[in-house]
Amino acid sequence: MKTSAGAARRGAWRGRTGLGQAENAIRSGKRLRLASSDIPIGLAGIAIVFLVLCALFPSWIAPYSPTDMNTAAILQAPSAAHLFGTDYFGRDVFSLIVHGTKDSLLIGASSVIVGVLIGAALGSIAGYVGGKLDTVIMRVMDVLLTVPGILLALTIAAALGPGLRNIVLAIAISSVPGYARVMRGQIMAIRGRGYVFASRAIGAKPSFILTKHVLPNSAAPLLVMATLGLGSSILAGAGLSFLGLGVLKEIPDWGALLSQGRGYLTVAWWICTFPGLAITLFVLSINLIGDRWRDAVDPKRKGRT
């Protein structure tokens, strides 16, 4: 009513006035003129590509076997032979990090995938169906939110044992409420979009509208959130390692390396500093890219480009 007429007018002046395009150009310019800030984005991209390569082809990159314990050369400081030094077993820290990439990324990726799938499903149902079901689902999500994530993770890990799969599940479940909330909000927002109304106006069935319009358009913010979630999942995994819920694998993930090496910080800083930096590098890169991506898909901000 009042708002819709207002919107028409707003559209009207934007369309008609001189600033219409100029302003758009200016605004988009403001956002994109950050050529200097694209350098870190580029670096972040390179870092991610490199880490993915590490995950896929670790033995091409790592100079040593990650399990090789050279007990004659323990706790050696970084040198030409051992770029990142050696740990308390005499393993080459660089090779460990390279080989640990796979599991680290796997923990991040699979927990995000599981979390997003469950969260998106619940959020979509809540948002699209609405009514009582919505209330029930969201109340359950509130319960999950209220129980601190770490408690959930701890109890799940304690209940199911400390396997990698259970760590993933623990992180995934504690991330479900977040995704569900975002998805629900998104679905409800998209449901109110003009093109959904337009599609309904031509007589399209609800299932058609849901699958062709609502879901595809709701996905973008969730995907961005999932990207950022990759980083926080890896951190959560490291946190669980710290609390003693990690897994003792032949090739530890970064979180485990960091957690296990932290006692040596004063005598052999390299053992946990480099895995820590690997985590930081990855999460930082993911965040930089995710932030940029989010700006790109955020309809509020997209309008300016």
């Binding site: 207002g6 009207a12 008609r16 600033l19 003009g194 093109y195 109304f197 337009a198 007589g203």
Partner: protein, 697 residues
């Protein structure tokens, strides 16, 4: 000649974008004398707003920079003043008001604190003194209960009220120049009239100069002493308002004037639209920027930029063929009087449709128009509304009293097959809601809708879904109503896949056919909506609406968001299609002229009620309801108060709590006790002419 208050000379403004530096405004020059009103007129991309911001040096904050030329305020050249000095000029010597008053106030601070803050920026003084001063200012601009308003935030005031407050805030520094950037565009036409009147009154009483930026030639005609027409960042033409509007010399100005569905244009006839749309900043044509759209264009125009050549009497136009164009325009003018009603107020004798001569003209033109009414009157009603009501519940819950927003409150209506019914009214009148109810896009609270005599209800899913094939809609926001991820081919084909069994290839054929039908290229179907201009998007929306050969189309503010020159194209397209396809339609708009141009019959809505329906000419010639007459009188560029015109005070009341009796009584100059207590019936006042008024005019 007195020293101009503001002198803009060869001003060029660059805008920094990721694609490089674009020039938004090139070498524009104009000046404003003390006490003078100058209008900058132009469409999107003309650079009028950015030019006005440059005068305040606000462009600096928006990635713009002054690349050349000078701006002189009084004796001070300000184009390169440091911002610290500029800050002192802003608000004190030059003040500015904006198009959307709601957005122009900080939503979280009170109006009062924002006014006081302005004073504090320029003067020393006690806050309480400033506050009192603010109250006086609000009173000065005609705001009732100013003490209360001072304490309210923007969200609590109506648009018209806020624009007044905005003006008050601008006045608080006692400026010599007021820049008004589309101050009334977001407002309803009756409010627009009030604001324009206020501006004129303030200008003369305070001896301010006004730089008015507008796209609306009507507003320019009503306000301007002089007009500067901008096109694509350059001055196309400038001169005294009378001259520019009366005898335009630039083909663009001529085209603009022709594009307008004036009250005098022949109904049903094609408007003389300018082809194409204004260029974007990044794709400015070489030579004369208007040449791709210009009928007079020659190689010379394509190669070199025409200078702004002075003709006489302060008039100039930037066209190699100005004389030629002016001659053609004069001829057309004589034939069609394209801009007769757009006479600047002070100099020209009152004219317009209420002027006897103009009225005669209108009448004569009706006789020439293809007359459908007779044939229609006997035909079957296609769509009928019976006592339709739509109440939206507000708030309430948990024991709080529930209130209803009575968006549509008992409307009965019958639309005949083949008829085009126009629906007009201000914001909050319920016209869009009524449109959606007619199509049963939402359930009504009361009453019913009949389609071909059968009840149509959103609740009967199967029947409803089938009926969508016949009943289509063109939306007001052509971009928001298409899925941005779909190609336009898919968008146009969506109704086909819902309602037909066509296979992929057949669908493609049909989409190609439709695209050509609405004036787009069939090969564009793989493109995405964001690649199109506003006008093109609306063509896409139209193609989609007619894809399944509907019987009825609802056009809901379908042209309101478009540039004037583009609006004409779409109006033409709609008219053509209606004739070709034998459509029945309802055309909702707030622009009265456009509605009149396209509609056979018009209904006027006020606060959820239909107050008058009549055949288009009849309504304009003999409005029976005071509100209709008030609406007509508010059209800018109309002559000032003639005995027959009505100007309304105040604003439309809230639909949650409509006044008793006649809903218009609170604003009606003729209201009596009867009006205040008894709701008038919707009664026949002439042939196919009904109105709900105790005292029809």
């Amino acid at each position: 000649m007195t020293q101009p208050l503001l002198e803009v000379k060869d001003l060029t403004i660059d805008v920094h974008t990721p694609r490089g530096i674009l020039t938004a405004v090139s070498e524009i020059s104009f000046d404003i004398a003390p006490g003078e009103t100058v209008c900058l007129v132009g469409e999107s991309g003309s650079g009028k707003t950015i030019a006005s911001k440059a005068i305040m040096r606000l462009t600096d904050y928006e990635n713009g920079s002054i690349a050349g030329g000078s701006i002189t305020l009084g004796d001070t050249p300000i184009e390169s003043l440091p911002q610290s000095v500029m800050r002192d000029l802003r608000g004190r010597r030059v003040a500015m008001i904006f198009q959307e008053p709601m957005a122009a106030f900080d939503p979280v601070f009170t109006i009062g604190s924002q006014i006081v803050e302005t004073m504090q920026a320029h003067r020393r003084g006690k806050k309480s003194t400033f506050w009192k001063e603010g109250v006086e200012l609000l009173r000065r601009v005609g705001i009732p209960e100013p003490e209360l308003r001072m304490k309210q935030v923007a969200g609590e005031l109506s648009g018209g009220m806020l624009q007044r407050a905005m003006i008050a805030m601008a006045l608080s520094g006692g400026p010599e120049l007021l820049i008004a950037d589309e101050p009334t565009t977001a407002l309803d036409v009756t409010i627009q009239a009030q604001i324009l009147e206020l501006l004129n009154e303030l200008k003369s009483s305070l001896n301010m100069s006004i730089l008015l930026i507008t796209h609306d030639l009507g507003v320019a005609a009503q306000m301007a002493d002089r007009i500067v027409v901008l096109y694509a960042g350059r001055v196309a033409e400038q001169g005294p308002a009378t001259d520019v509007l009366g005898s335009p010399r630039h083909p663009y100005t001529i085209g603009l004037l022709n594009s307008i569905a004036t009250l005098d244009s022949r109904r049903g006839e094609r408007l003389r639209a300018i082809e194409g749309s204004p260029p974007g900043l990044a794709e400015m044509p070489e030579g004369c920027r208007f040449h791709p759209r210009c009928a007079f264009a020659t190689d010379k125009c394509r190669e070199s930029v025409p200078p702004l050549s002075e003709k006489d009497n302060n008039r100039s136009a930037a066209c190699w063929h100005a004389d030629e164009a002016a001659a053609v325009a004069a001829a057309t003018h004589a034939e069609l009087t394209p801009a007769r009603h757009l006479s600047p107020v002070p100099d020209a004798p009152p004219s317009g449709m209420l002027h006897p001569a103009a009225s005669r003209q209108s009448i004569s033109s009706i006789h020439e128009a293809p007359v459908k009414e007779e044939s229609l009157s006997g035909s079957h009603p296609l769509l009928q509304a019976e006592h339709l009501k739509k109440h939206y519940p507000l708030g309430g819950g948990w024991g709080r009293a529930k209130r209803n927003l009575r968006a549509v409150d008992g409307v009965s209506l019958s639309i005949a097959e083949g008829e085009t019914f126009g629906l007009v009214g201000e914001s909050g009148s319920g016209k869009s809601t009524l449109g959606r109810l007619l199509l049963q896009l939402e359930p009504q609270t009361g009453g019913r809708v009949l389609y071909r005599g059968d009840e149509l209800s959103i609740k009967d899913k199967t029947h409803w879904r089938e009926s969508r094939r016949d009943l289509q809609i063109i939306h007001q926001d052509p971009y928001g109503t298409v899925d941005p991820r779909w190609s336009i081919g898919e968008i146009i084909a969506e109704p086909l896949s819902v309602h037909t069994e066509l296979n992929q290839a057949q669908r493609l054929d049909r989409v190609s056919e439709l695209l050509e039908q609405v004036g787009l290229k069939a090969s564009w179907q793989n493109r995405y909506p964001h690649e199109f201009s506003g006008g093109q998007r609306q063509r896409i929306g139209i193609a989609r609406a007619i894809a399944v050969n509907p019987k009825f189309i609802l056009a809901d503010e379908a042209v309101s968001a478009l540039d004037v020159s583009v609006q004409a194209q779409i109006v033409n397209l709609l008219q053509d299609l209606q004739q070709q396809l034998g459509l029945t339609s309802v055309f909702i708009a707030h622009g009265l002229q456009v509605v009149r141009h396209i509609s056979d019959r018009i209904g006027v809505m006020y606060l959820g009620k239909l107050v008058e329906t009549a055949p288009s000419e009849e309504l304009f010639r003999r409005p029976a309801h005071p509100y209709t007459r008030a609406l007509l009188s508010s059209i800018p560029g109309m002559s000032p108060a003639t005995p027959e015109s009505i100007s309304v005070q105040g604003e439309i009341p809230s639909p949650t709590n409509p006044p008793p009796g006649c809903r218009f009584h609170t604003r009606c100059p003729m209201a009596t006790d009867l009006c205040r207590n008894v709701e008038p019936a919707f009664a026949t006042v002439g042939a196919r002419h009904e109105a709900a008024c105790h005292y029809p005019l």
